[in-house]
């Protein structure tokens, strides 16, 4: 998924999947992310940064 918006206060990113659907994703396990980053997501948690 790619990061499209950030909620730094809650540690959550809004991410878009390949089909464009948007999901709230916990990003605590991959450190700070930026808009445009690609992340591997499982059960709404980013496990790895791909970019």
């Amino acid at each position: 998924m790619s990061v499209v918006a950030l909620d730094d206060e809650r540690g959550i990113a809004l991410c878009a999947d390949g089909a464009g659907a948007r999901h709230s994703v916990e990003t605590a396990l991959v450190g700070p992310v930026a808009i445009g980053d690609s992340v591997l997501v499982h059960a709404a948690t980013a496990l790895a940064r791909l970019s």
Binding site: H23, H42, A44
Partner: protein
């Protein structure tokens, strides 16, 4: 390569298939196990096995998290779901897994408030929206999904949400692999190692496989070229007399995994002395429960659960499928009494289950062969 289409390039697939054909010894039979249900799904969906020589056999391992949940745990979940005031939440696949007296979906039809969620965070949101109800999350999965559950429990603790608990069914990948390797009827020439689990645990925990059992393992991604490449790498190890852990999925998997995920799991979970796996029986230190520090968020402590072990239906051969002893189509009820619409066994429910993957994709190729 960067985009998914590139990992599905048919021309590159044919090149790898040619290399695999050149790498096999005529007259030798190779048996490789893909550990992860995601691999099984991709193999059938993309027809990867059709590109392999006849003497390279893929058998399917116990890596589908839904498939390994025993019936007794489903019964325990249903018992909690039927408690007054409970909202019971779980992933969609879990809803249709049969227990001894029906599935969670059937319990929902009978009146229990059971809701499908996409993630534990969704379950936590439901708890916040329903402060006068007890919300239980039925957590399943290997180390891939366990960090998500752990983070959610930490978040519940930090936000002071007291009406949220977790029924933990998380399992770990190494103990069942060791159990399979110890099995006298199992002879494997190599493993296609689990990609997404390894994102969390890394490739290092699999070093015991070559060291103690003399079997190579290549951690692989989930696209068809990833799987073909991993098979090519295993064959190269065998041809060169090497036996080691290799990481084909290095674009995602660090050799030592994700340290933050491992840290949060260590804080929130601890190993159970033993845990029952469907088809594999009880395996020591293979399941996770909430640690003492999070005991107040443990649904099994807040609610009474039957905890009764239930034997699988006699007709169901999921156990043999999960151990790679038989192929899905060799099960007596495959495609007749057991279908994705009316599953008897767990392997026919999840899209990562070997039987469902084969039923949805592979059987057509086999039917062509038979004709």
């Amino acid at each position: 390569m960067k985009y998914v289409d590139e990992f599905r390039d048919p021309e590159l697939g044919r090149v790898l298939a040619t290399e695999i054909l050149a790498a096999v010894e005529p007259g030798r039979h190779y048996k490789f196990m893909e550990v992860c249900g995601g691999h099984t799904h991709s193999i059938y969906k993309f027809g990867v096995d059709d590109l392999l020589p006849e003497n390279v056999e893929l058998v399917h391992g116990p890596g589908c998290p839904v498939c390994v949940i025993p019936m007794g745990r489903v019964d325990d979940g249903i018992a909690i779901a039927r408690e007054p005031g409970v909202i019971f939440t779980c992933f969609g696949d879990m809803m249709r897994i049969p227990g001894s007296a029906g599935s969670l979906l059937e319990a929902k039809a009978q009146g229990a408030d059971i809701r499908m969620v996409y993630s534990p965070l969704d379950a936590l949101r439901i708890a916040k929206e329903n402060p006068d109800r007890e919300v239980v999350f039925f957590a399943i999965g290997f180390e891939t999904t366990a960090p998500s559950t752990a983070l959610t429990l930490k978040r519940a603790r930090a936000e002071g949400i007291r009406n949220f608990t977790c029924m933990c069914n998380h399992v770990t990948i190494v103990p069942p692999l060791r159990a399979l390797l110890e099995s006298p009827d199992m002879r494997l020439d190599g493993f296609v190692g689990p990609g997404h689990v390894s994102t969390v645990v890394g490739a290092r925990p699999f070093e015991f496989i070559p060291r103690d059992y003399g079997t190579p393992i290549v951690v692989a991604g989930f696209e068809p070229l990833d799987i073909l490449h991993a098979i090519r790498m295993i064959l190269a190890q065998l041809a060169e007399g090497r036996c080691e852990v290799e990481n084909q999925y290095a674009r995602v998997v660090p050799y030592d995994g994700n340290p933050r995920a491992l840290e949060v799991m260590a804080e929130v979970f601890e190993l159970r002395p033993h845990f029952e796996w469907r088809g594999l029986g009880f395996i020591s230190q293979s399941g996770l429960k909430l640690s003492e520090a999070y005991a107040d968020l443990d649904a099994e402590r807040r609610f009474s659960v039957p905890g009764i072990r239930v034997a699988d239906p006699k007709a169901c051969q999921c156990g043999e499928v999960l151990k790679g002893v038989i192929k899905p189509w060799e099960c007596k009820v495959f495609g007749t009494a057991c279908t994705p619409e009316r599953p008897i066994g767990t392997c026919m429910v999840s899209s990562e289950g070997a039987c469902a993957a084969y039923y949805n994709f592979g059987r057509f190729a086999r039917e062509r062969e038979v004709v």
